[in-house]
Symmetry: C2
C-alpha cells in the first residue's frame, strides 16, 4: 500500500510539528520571558501556517483517493478516518475566514480581559457579536448544509449532537438543582483554615502525581497561572499552582491534570505520532481528569490517606479526623465561578452556558440580551443573584476566543466518568481498600486498559460503551452524586 | 516593490520557524523529560524538513530574479544578500546528501562519545572517515569549483579564507608558544581552594549577567550540562553550570554567554525576524563573548570588584587581596582540554585543530595518522605529551557532528576582540575606573553601538573594521596578551 505508507509518513511529520506547536504554548505559560510576547505571536502564527498548509495539502486528498479502505485493518481504517476528517475540516473553511477569526478573537480576548477587569459587559458586547457572526459563518462552512451548532460541537466531540446532549442535560438539570438546594439547607461542614507552606504543597503535589501514575520520565510538573496538561506521547507536561490559603486547589488541580496526562501517556505506543496517538475527544479526556480528581481523589477512602499525608506535611492543621477532612474536601459552597465549583454544582454552570451559547448561535438570543439571560438563569438554578458581570457572563474566556461547542464537553466528561466509575466499582469491589492505602493502581490500570490505551481507535461514545458496558447515560453520574452528597449531608 | 515585500514576508515566517526550531534545542538541554528523546528527534527532523523546504522553495529564486537591486537601499540589499546566500547554499547541496550527513553524523556522535569514554580512537576512526568523505562531497557542492575548505569556512564566517587565516594564525603561533613557555617557567600564583555554595554561585552569576547588560525581560538564565546562548531578538536564553570547587567556571561561562546573548538582544529592533536580525558570523559572535569574558571580565579592574562580591557571597575564601585574586583568575596552568584553557593557551589549541582539519579535508592527512599528528603537534606547542585520547584527539565533539571550518572562528573571535578592545580603550581611557566599580556600561554601550546593533548589515570583516578603525589583524590581540601576561608573570 504505497499511498497509505506515503500518507502516514506525511502525517507523522504533521503530528510531530503539531507537538512542537503545542509545546510553544507550554513554554509561553511557564518559562517564556515576558518581553518575548510579540515575537512569540509571530512564531505561533508561522507554525499554524505550516500546519494549515499540510492539512489542506492536495496530496492528502490524492492519497486518500488512491487507498482502498477495504483492504485495510481496523487500525489503519481508524487512522484514515481521522486524517480525512482533519483534511475535510481544513479544506471546508476558507483560509481568509480563518485569518479573520484569528484576528478578531485575538482582539476580543484583550477586550474581554479589560471588560472583566472593569465589570463592563457593554464594552465587550460589540466584539462578541463579531466573533459570533464569524464563528457562525465557519460553522456553516463546516456543517455543509447540516446543523451549525452540531458542526461546532463535532470539533471537540466527534459524533455528539445538541439533540442527544439536550436529552442528557435535561435530565440532569432539575435533579442537580434540587440536590443543590437540599444540600444548602442542611448543616454545613467546617471550612479549611490556616496557611499552608507553598514548597510543601509542591512536594505533596508531586507525590500525588506519582500516586496517580503520572510518569515523570516522559513528563514534568511546573507552576503556572492556570493548571493545564500539554503534549502527547513521550512528552506530556502538566502545570499546577499554589495558594497558601487553599492547598486543595493545588492538589486537586494536579490530580485533574494527571488524569488528562495519563490518558496521553498511556496510549498504545504503536500509535505514537499518528492521529490515533491522542485522546479521542474533549469529553473522553475530561472523563479521565474528572474520575481521577473526583470519583477517586475526592472519595472517602482516598481522602483518608490524603489526610495523613497532609498531617505529615503540615502538622496539625486544625482538622480533627479523616471524616471531617472528607466533608471539608467535598464541601458545597455558594459561589459564582465555574472553575471554583464543587462536583455537585459544576454541571449546573456548564448547562447554563450550553443553553445560552446554542441560543446565541441560532439567533434566538441576541448579545444585547445575554447578560440578563445569564443572570436570570443563574438565579433560577443557584437561588441567588449574580452580583457583577465578572462573576457572571464575563467570567470565562471561552466565547471571546471563539470556543463555541466546547463547554458541553465538560459535563459530557462528567457523565462519561459516571459510567466508567460504575463499571470500575463492579470490576473492583475492593477498590476502596486500595484507595485507603493511597494505591490507585487497580483504578488507573483499569482505565488504562479499557480507555486510555485505545487513543483515537474508537469513537468517543464507543470507547465509553466498550469500557462501561452500557449505553452512555447521565444516570450513573446522577445516582453517584445523589448517594455521595445525600450521605455527606444526611439527606 | 511587490516581489521584495512578498519575499520578506515569506522570509519573516522562515525566521520565526527557525527561532522555534532553535528553542527546541534549548528545551532539550534544560527542561525536556529524558524519556522524550525518541519523539524529540522526530520533531527536530520535521522542523528541519520544513526549514529546508522553505530555503529551497523555487518562489525564492523567482522573487530574487524579479527584484531590481539597484532600486533598493543598503538595508534591503543586505537582506537580499543573506537570503540569496541561504537559498544558494540550500539548493547546491542535494537533499539526499544532507540526509546521509544527518544520519552518519548522528551515528558518529554516539560512537565518538563511546570512544572517548573508553579512550579508543580506533573505534571512532572508521566513522570519522565516513563523515569526512561526506563533508568533502558537501564542500565540493558548495564550493562550485572553488576551494572546498573555504566553502566550509564560509558557512560559519562568510568571506573568510584559509589563506588569510593562515597568515594571521601563522603570526600568532610562535609568539604564543614562546609566551606560554616563558610564563610556565616564571613563579606561579596560588590556586583557588575551597567549596563554594552552588546556590550562592547562581545568585552571583545572575548579578554578573545583569552587570554585563543581559536583559532578563527578553531572556532567562538556566542550568545545563554545557553553557550556551540560544535564540535571537526578543527571546535570547543562556545557560550556565555550577561546580562547588570551581566558581570561576560558572561566572566566566555566564559572562561569555552574556556576550553572545547581548549581541542578539542588542541588534536593531527594526531587523527583528529578518536575516539581518542575527549575529553576522561565528567570529564576530565570539569576539563579543570573548571581550566580555576576558578583556573586560578578567581585567585587573573588574576582578577587583568581583573579589569584593565573592567575599560578600562566600565570606573569607582564603584569598588575601584583590591583586592575588587577579593573578588566580588569570592563572596559566598545564592542561589538555581546550574548553578549560586560559586566555593565553586557548588559541594554541584552536590553531592545532585548524591545521589538522585542513589537512584531513585536503587528504594530506589520513584519519589513521590523525592521533599521532595531534600528539606530535600538541607536544611541540605545549611542551608535554598527551596522556590519553580523551585528553587529545577525542576531546571535542565537533568533527563527529561534521563541524569542519568552525574551530578557526574561535581564534578569529579572539583576534577581533583584540581589535575592538584596542579601539574601546582609546575611546574610553577611563574604562578601568568604571570596571573597578562593577560598571560595564561604557564598554557594553560602545560595543552595542559599534558592533551589535548592526546585526547582519555589514560583512564580518567590515563590522570589525568600522568599529575598530583598523584592518583586522592579530597584532592587537598579541600585544594585549604579551602585556597582560608579561605584567602578571613579571616577564
Amino acid at each position: 500500500m504505497k499511498a497509505y505508507d506515503e500518507l502516514m509518513a506525511f502525517q507523522r511529520e504533521t503530528e510531530a510539528l503539531a507537538e512542537v506547536a503545542g509545546r510553544l504554548g507550554w513554554d509561553q505559560e511557564t518559562v517564556m520571558p515576558r518581553g518575548a510576547a510579540p515575537q512569540r505571536s509571530e512564531e505561533m502564527a508561522a507554525m499554524q501556517g505550516v500546519l494549515h498548509a499540510r492539512n489542506v495539502d492536495p496530496r492528502v486528498a490524492d492519497w486518500l483517493a488512491a487507498i482502498d479502505g477495504e483492504a485495510l485493518d481496523e487500525v489503519a481504517r481508524a487512522q484514515l478516518h481521522h486524517i480525512r476528517r482533519g483534511h475535510d475540516r481544513a479544506t471546508r473553511v476558507p483560509g481568509e475566514l480563518s485569518s479573520r477569526i484569528a484576528r478578531v478573537t485575538s482582539r476580543a480576548q484583550g477586550l474581554w480581559a479589560e471588560a472583566r477587569a472593569t465589570d463592563d459587559f457593554a464594552a465587550f458586547a460589540p466584539v462578541l457579536e463579531e466573533v459570533i457572526a464569524l464563528k457562525r459563518e465557519e460553522g456553516q462552512a463546516l456543517a455543509a448544509g447540516g446543523d451549525v451548532y452540531d458542526a461546532m460541537l463535532d470539533d471537540y466531540e466527534p459524533g455528539a449532537t445538541a439533540e442527544t446532549l439536550t436529552a442528557m442535560f435535561g435530565a440532569l438539570r432539575p435533579a442537580l438543582a434540587d440536590l443543590r438546594a437540599a444540600v444548602r439547607e442542611a448543616p454545613q461542614p467546617p471550612v479549611l483554615e490556616g496557611v499552608f507552606d507553598e514548597a510543601a504543597q509542591m512536594e505533596l503535589t508531586r507525590l500525588l502525581a506519582t500516586t496517580f501514575g503520572y510518569d515523570s520520565s516522559i513528563g514534568r510538573v511546573d507552576k503556572a497561572v492556570h493548571p493545564f496538561s500539554s503534549g502527547s506521547g513521550l512528552d506530556v507536561r502538566i502545570t499546577t499552582r499554589t495558594n497558601p490559603l487553599d492547598p486543595f486547589n493545588c492538589f486537586y488541580s494536579t490530580i485533574h491534570e494527571v488524569g488528562h496526562a495519563a490518558y496521553e501517556q498511556n496510549i498504545d505506543q504503536a500509535y505514537l505520532l499518528t492521529p490515533l496517538g491522542r485522546g479521542v475527544s474533549m469529553g473522553v479526556h475530561e472523563s479521565q481528569s474528572r474520575i481521577y480528581e473526583n470519583q477517586l481523589g475526592r472519595s472517602r477512602a482516598f481522602t483518608g490517606w490524603l489526610f495523613g499525608k497532609m498531617r505529615d506535611a503540615f502538622g496539625d492543621f486544625g482538622v480533627a479526623d479523616a471524616e471531617t477532612f472528607y466533608r471539608i474536601v467535598n464541601r458545597v459552597s455558594d459561589g459564582y465561578i465555574r472553575t471554583e465549583a464543587d462536583e455537585l454544582q459544576y454541571n449546573l454552570h456548564v448547562l447554563l452556558r450550553f443553553d445560552l451559547e446554542r441560543a446565541l448561535m441560532s439567533g434566538d438570543l441576541q448579545v444585547g440580551d445575554l447578560e440578563a439571560a445569564w443572570n436570570d438563569r443563574f438565579e433560577a438554578d443557584f437561588g441567588y443573584p449574580v452580583d457583577k458581570p465578572s462573576n457572571g457572563v464575563l467570567q470565562d474566556v471561552h466565547w471571546s476566543v471563539g470556543l463555541f461547542g466546547y463547554f458541553p464537553t465538560y459535563t459530557l466528561g462528567n457523565v462519561y466518568a459516571g459510567c466508567l466509575h460504575e463499571a470500575l466499582r463492579a470490576a473492583h469491589p475492593d477498590l476502596d481498600d486500595h484507595l485507603a492505602r493511597g494505591e490507585t493502581g487497580v483504578a488507573t490500570e483499569w482505565l488504562r486498559t479499557n480507555v486510555q490505551t485505545h487513543g483515537g481507535l474508537y469513537t468517543p461514545r464507543d470507547v465509553i460503551r466498550r469500557a462501561s458496558g452500557i449505553e452512555p447515560s447521565e444516570a450513573p453520574l446522577l445516582s453517584y452524586l445523589q448517594n455521595k452528597f445525600g450521605d455527606l449531608y444526611g439527606l
